[in-house]
């Protein structure tokens, strides 16, 4: 293809996006678009899969049958999200095995929030309320993103996430209406998850890369700081209803801006976790790698079996 032809294609492509039409896998797309989407969608898929682990940690210890069933279902939903997202990613011409390889080798990232340990039952509430809450704010705009398979996957994901968030909030509410011990458990959990949740929106706009391009492709509609502010403004009143205190002495309502002002985020911690040195990075990755390696003989068997079955069919047909 001549340079001019490529340029024409690119122009048509950008116009299509500008018209809010979806890009589909079979459509022509710039290589950078493809790569960026592979990176973002797979990162999102990995987050779902790794995100199963902190919650999975409480399945065997859930305090009631009702909660156990809800937690199992929630973690299962996350596996399901992983599945759609990997599928969406595969339409861009990369295999699931390659994607796993990137995760297992540490080349691909996943959301840093899952590198914190779940140490009390209240964390099941806080994760639903705060982590899923933050995720929704990040993800709702993606329901209208330009790449069709991703946008469609996100519609489904967001619907379920919002159910999860209500469920998490309900866990918190039950604790806060319970005994003093339960309320303390909820407060302690909020104390531990608040700041990491704020970090889920990524570095401040000043430090953030790729933003402009992502905006154009509708992978992003608001900046990190805008989304973070939206999360805070939405969450503070919810904490008030619970009767819990947000662990930020500088948090206060600003009449002028009509928003909450808040304290300084510990960006050193953020970068430490991103670089692989959070409290559970090693454990999470090891768990995924172990699951994958322990499952190798099973996948091999399934493959061998289906090949044998296919061969039998061919034999019968001939």
């Amino acid at each position: 293809m001549s340079e001019q032809e490529v340029k024409n294609l690119e122009e048509m492509f950008e116009q299509k996006i500008a018209r809010d039409e979806k890009i589909e896998p079979k459509d022509w797309m710039p290589e950078k678009y493809r790569k960026t989407h592979i990176r973002q969608i797979s990162q999102h898929a990995h987050s779902e899969i790794v995100g199963m682990l902190p919650e999975g940690n409480w399945i065997t210890r859930a305090p009631s049958l009702r909660r156990k069933v809800a937690l199992l279902a929630k973690v299962q939903d996350e596996a399901g999200h992983g599945l759609y997202l990997y599928s969406a990613c595969e339409t861009l011409g990369i295999s699931r095995d390659e994607l796993y390889d990137q995760l297992h080798s540490g080349k691909a990232k996943y959301s840093s929030i899952f590198n914190y340990p779940t140490i009390t039952w209240a964390d099941m509430g806080a994760i639903g309320w705060l982590v899923d809450g933050a995720a929704i704010i990040n993800q709702v705009p993606l329901c209208n993103t330009s790449f069709g398979p991703y946008a469609r996957a996100m519609v489904r994901v967001c619907k379920e996430e919002s159910f999860h968030q209500r469920q998490g909030y309900e866990i918190m509410l039950t604790l806060c209406r319970g005994t003093e011990e339960q309320k303390q458990m909820a407060q302690d959990s909020l104390n531990r998850w608040w700041w990491p949740s704020l970090m889920m929106f990524g570095p401040t706009d000043a430090e953030s890369t790729h933003t402009e391009q992502s905006m154009k492709w509708k992978l992003k509609r608001k900046t990190n700081d805008e989304l973070r502010q939206q999360f805070i403004d939405q969450t503070v009143p919810q904490a008030e209803i619970l009767g819990l205190t947000i662990p930020d002495d500088d948090l206060k309502w600003n009449e002028e801006t009509g928003q909450y002002d808040f304290g300084k985020i510990n960006w050193d911690e953020f970068w430490q976790v991103v670089k692989g040195h959070g409290p559970c990075n090693k454990e999470r990755l090891q768990t995924r790698v172990d699951a994958w390696e322990n499952g190798e003989w099973v996948r091999d068997a399934a493959m061998a079996y289906s090949e044998k079955q296919a061969a039998k069919k061919v034999q019968k047909a001939s």
Binding site: M52, T60, V75, L83, A291, G295, E296, D300, A301, A304
Partner: protein, 251 residues
């Protein structure tokens, strides 16, 4: 039949689902593929759903002020009456699937018969659960075939697991006092009548899977009498952790 015996009969069925559901719950997030992970969690969910129906019914029958959670979390190890099979640990995927397979075939036949119980609540639970059990049975049987007729390694592993767990199959058909009473009253299922079919069904799958059906002289029992393996205590210490640590609280 009196409520106490009926409760005991119900626990004899429900505890199997409870403990097997708990074992499967350990695996969520650790499956060999995402699809298998989802499927196994699904089975766990089905089992816990059944458990809730049974325990809610038992709570209703109980003269004490009990809830489903009291039955699930506040008994001593000696009071759980699940069979030994379901409490066996997840040594590897072969053991997990073999355990599931050996249980599912029994479970399906049991629920199928339970539809003819004189107890309407049990009939309703059985009808709803039967569809689930039928899916479980297909899932685990399919995996038995894949592993048996897959690679040399998978054949060796699944055969080992089947051989090892076979000794727990006889107990599935044992009857407690409550079972005998429930059968007499037309409420319970006479497991004797399921055995032949069970062995035939299992044998059929094993054969298709190119696996040997084990031949054993001695079998293990104990679970139905509340005498469990040493694995059970650890399972319970996790399962009961919250209820024991924070008694009487609502979650």
């Amino acid at each position: 039949m009196n409520n106490d015996s009926l409760i005991k009969y119900i626990l004899g069925i429900a505890d199997n689902s409870l403990i097997l559901g708990q074992r499967l719950g350990e695996l969520t997030g650790h499956g060999p593929t995402l699809e298998v992970d989802i499927a196994m969690t699904n089975i766990s969910l089905d089992l816990f759903g059944q458990v809730r129906s049974y325990f809610q019914y038992a709570a209703q029958l109980s003269e004490e002020d009990k809830t489903e959670d009291d039955f699930a979390f506040l008994r001593t190890e000696r009071e759980y009456v699940n069979v030994l099979l379901v409490e066996q640990p997840n040594r590897d995927f072969a053991y997990t699937i073999a355990r599931q397979f050996l249980f599912d075939h029994f479970h399906f036949l049991l629920l199928n018969e339970l539809q003819n119980s004189k107890d309407e609540t049990l009939v309703a639970i059985a009808k709803k659960s039967l569809k689930e059990a039928s899916y479980h049975r297909r899932f685990s049987s399919d995996w038995i075939k894949r592993l048996g007729d897959g690679t040399e390694e998978s054949n060796r592993k699944i055969q080992l697991a089947i051989n090892d767990l076979w000794r727990f199959t006889e107990e599935l058909f044992h009857k407690t006092k409550a079972d005998i009473e429930a059968i007499k009253e037309g409420v319970g299922v006479d497991t004797d009548k399921l055995k032949e079919k069970y062995l035939a069904n299992v044998a059929e799958v094993l054969e298709e899977a190119t696996l040997q059906k084990p031949v054993l002289e001695f079998f293990q029992e104990g679970g139905k009498k509340g005498i469990h393996s040493e694995h059970m205590g650890y399972l319970l210490s996790d399962m009961q952790y919250m209820q024991r640590t924070y008694p009487g609280m609502k979650w």
